[in-house]
C-alpha cells in the first residue's frame, strides 16, 4: 500500500485547506482526497521531473544561472521584483532582502488583487476575525463583490455557510446569508437574499447602508439599482444579529472607486459594532498573498508597492506598483517570483516584460517563464518543499513537503542570488 500523507495544506488559494490527504508512490503523487477541483491540479498536474535552469532557453548549470541573474540585477538601474504570492513566506523574506540589497522596487500580486483593500485598511483600520470564529459564531454572512462559489470552493463547507460550529450547531440553518453583486453569481444562488447592484454603484449603496444603520432616511427610493426598503431590511439584520461577517472581493477593489468602496464597507462594519459583533474579511486569492502582505509589512512597514531605490523603503501605490512601473517603462530588469504577470497584466504593461531581461523563479510553466532570460525551475511549496503560508484570516499555516524531488526552493535560489549580486 502506498504511503499516505495526511493533513496536507493545499497552497492554491487563501483558504489553505489543511485536511488534504495525498497518496504517494515512488515520489509521485497518485491520489488526492478532499482537495477541491481548483486545488487538485496543484498536486495531480505537478510535473515533478528534475529540470535544470535555462538561460535564453538553453540548459545551464545552476551556478551559471545564478551568476547571470546576479549580473542582470547588478547592472540594472531600476530593477523590479514582483509576485511573491505563490511562494512561501521564508522566500518572501529573501525577496525583500534582495530588493534592499540592490535598491529594487518590490511589489506583490496584491497590487492587482486586494491592494485597494490594503489602502483602505491604512485609512480606516480593519475590523477582523479568524475563519474559526466565523465558523463557530457567525449567524449573518454578507458576501459583497466576491464569488467563493467560483474562487474558493471549500470556503462554504469549511468556514462559512454549512459547517456546524459551537454556536451554529445546525450549520446552514443557523445562518442568514446575503450576496451583493452586479450579477447573479453561484454565490448569490446559495444565499438567502441577493441584492443586485448596478456596476460602479457599490460606494453609494454602502453609504446608504451607513445612513440606514444610523437611523437616517435617504432621499431616494432606490440606490444603485437596489430598493432602499431592501437595504433597510439588511441594515436591521446587521444591527440585530449575534455575529455578522462581511466577505469582500474584487467586485469592490477592481471597480470604480476601488479603495473608497472598501473603506466604506470597513467603516460600515466598524460602526455596526455599536450594535452587534461584526467583522469583515477580504477573500484572498493566491495561497500566500496574505503572507506577502504580512512579510512586506513586517520588514518595510508597507504591504506592497515599495521602492528601496533611496536605500530605505518608500511606499508608492500608483508609482511603485508593478503595472505602473511597467506601463511607464520604469523597470529595466525584473525578477518574477512565482507569478505570471505575462498572463494577468494589461497588455501594454505585460509588453514591457518582453523588452527587459527577466529572471523567473517558478515551479511550473507560465507565459512569463517561457520568455525569461533566466529561468529557475524551483520546488513548489506544499508539494516538494516545506514552508509557511498565511491563510486569508492572517493565520500562519505550515505547508508540507509530500514528495522529494531534490529541486532547490525559491528561498535557496534567492539566497544564492543575494550572495552573488554586487
Amino acid at each position: 500500500m502506498s504511503p499516505v500523507v495526511e493533513n496536507v495544506s493545499c497552497p492554491f488559494c487563501g483558504c489553505l485547506c489543511d485536511d488534504i490527504s495525498v497518496e504517494v508512490e515512488e515520489e509521485a503523487i497518485v491520489k488526492v482526497k478532499r482537495a477541491c477541483t481548483s486545488g487538485l491540479g496543484i498536486f495531480m498536474d505537478y510535473d515533478a521531473r528534475p529540470r535544470r535552469p535555462l538561460i535564453a532557453g538553453r540548459e545551464v548549470e545552476w551556478d551559471e544561472a545564478v551568476a547571470e541573474a546576479a549580473r542582470i540585477l547588478s547592472a540594472a538601474d531600476s530593477p523590479l521584483i514582483y509576485g511573491l504570492s505563490s511562494s512561501a513566506s521564508e522566500a518572501q523574506r529573501k525577496a525583500v532582502a534582495l530588493a534592499d540589497r540592490i535598491g529594487a522596487v518590490i511589489d506583490s500580486t496584491s497590487s492587482v488583487c486586494h491592494g485597494p483593500t490594503g489602502l483602505a485598511m491604512q485609512r480606516v483600520g480593519e475590523p477582523t476575525c479568524t475563519l474559526g470564529e466565523i465558523r463557530d459564531r457567525a449567524d449573518l454572512l454578507v458576501f459583497w463583490g466576491c464569488n467563493p462559489d467560483a474562487s474558493h470552493l471549500r470556503h462554504f463547507s469549511r468556514f462559512s455557510l454549512t459547517p456546524r460550529g459551537t454556536l451554529t450547531p445546525n450549520g446552514r440553518a443557523d445562518r442568514t446569508v446575503y450576496a451583493v453583486d452586479v450579477r447573479p453569481t453561484g454565490t448569490a444562488k446559495k444565499a438567502d437574499h441577493f441584492l443586485q447592484v448596478d456596476i460602479g454603484s457599490d460606494f453609494e449603496v454602502l453609504t446608504t447602508l451607513r445612513l440606514l444603520v444610523k437611523g437616517r432616511e435617504p432621499a431616494a427610493d432606490t440606490v444603485g439599482g437596489v430598493p432602499v426598503a431592501r437595504l433597510q431590511e439588511l441594515a436591521e439584520r446587521m444591527k440585530t444579529c449575534r455575529y455578522g461577517v462581511a466577505f469582500m472581493g474584487m467586485g469592490l477593489t477592481m471597480a470604480a472607486a476601488r479603495q473608497l468602496n472598501v473603506a466604506e464597507l470597513f467603516t460600515l462594519v466598524a460602526e455596526l459594532n455599536e450594535y452587534a459583533k461584526f467583522s469583515v474579511l477580504p477573500m484572498r486569492g493566491h495561497g500566500n498573498v496574505t503572507g506577502a502582505d504580512q512579510v512586506l509589512s513586517w520588514t518595510t512597514s508597507y504591504p506592497f508597492a515599495i521602492s528601496f531605490a533611496r536605500g530605505y523603503p518608500q511606499f508608492g501605490p500608483g508609482e511603485f506598483t508593478a503595472v505602473d512601473m511597467l506601463a511607464r517603462r520604469a523597470a529595466d530588469a525584473a525578477l518574477i517570483l512565482a507569478s505570471d504577470p505575462g498572463a494577468h497584466f494589461p497588455g501594454a504593461a505585460a509588453a514591457h516584460l518582453d523588452r527587459i531581461p527577466t529572471i523567473v523563479l517558478d515551479h511550473g510553466p507560465s507565459v512569463v517563464a517561457a520568455k525569461a532570460r533566466v529561468l529557475f525551475p524551483t520546488a513548489a511549496y506544499g508539494v516538494d518543499a516545506a514552508g509557511t503560508a498565511y491563510r486569508m484570516d492572517n493565520v500562519p499555516i505550515p505547508l508540507k513537503r509530500v514528495i522529494s524531488t531534490g529541486r532547490f526552493t525559491d528561498e535557496e535560489i534567492l539566497d544564492r542570488i543575494i550572495e552573488a549580486v554586487e
Partner: protein
C-alpha cells in the same frame, strides 16, 4: 451594428482547472475564450449563440465566442486570462489596480458560429 456595453472580468472554476494544465492547454483556452452576454443584448446586436464577437476598447480588441449568461442588460463577462488583457488599460488612478471591472467596451458581431475567433 455595435454598441457600447460594460465589461467585467472574473474567476471561473474551469479557468482555475485550466491554469494547472498550462495557459496554452486546450482546457485553459476553452475556459477563457468566450464572452457571456445578456440574451436581450445578443438579440439586439444580432449575435447568435456561439457567434464570434468583437470586443474593442481604446487599448485593443479581441474576438471571442458569445454565449448567453445570467447578466443584467448592458453587462458582459469574460473569464480572467490571457485573451482579455489586450482590452485592459494601464491607468490605475494612483492605486496600482487597472480597471478589470466596469470597463466600457464596444461589442459587435464579427463572424457566425463555427467561424474562427
Amino acid at each position: 451594428m455595435s454598441e457600447r456595453l460594460t465589461l467585467i472580468t472574473g474567476r471561473t472554476r474551469k479557468q482555475a482547472i485550466g491554469m494547472h494544465r498550462g495557459k496554452s492547454s486546450p482546457e485553459y483556452l476553452e475556459a477563457t475564450g468566450f464572452v457571456e452576454m445578456n440574451a436581450d443584448d445578443m438579440e439586439r446586436l444580432a449575435i447568435p449563440e456561439g457567434g464570434v464577437t468583437r470586443l474593442s476598447t481604446a487599448d485593443g480588441h479581441v474576438e471571442l465566442r458569445a454565449q448567453v449568461g445570467e447578466l443584467p442588460r448592458g453587462l458582459v463577462f469574460v473569464p480572467m486570462g490571457t485573451r482579455i488583457n489586450a482590452l485592459i488599460g494601464v491607468e490605475t488612478s494612483g492605486s496600482g489596480m487597472p480597471s478589470f471591472k466596469g470597463l466600457a467596451v464596444e461589442v459587435a458581431l464579427a463572424g457566425e458560429p463555427g467561424g474562427a475567433p
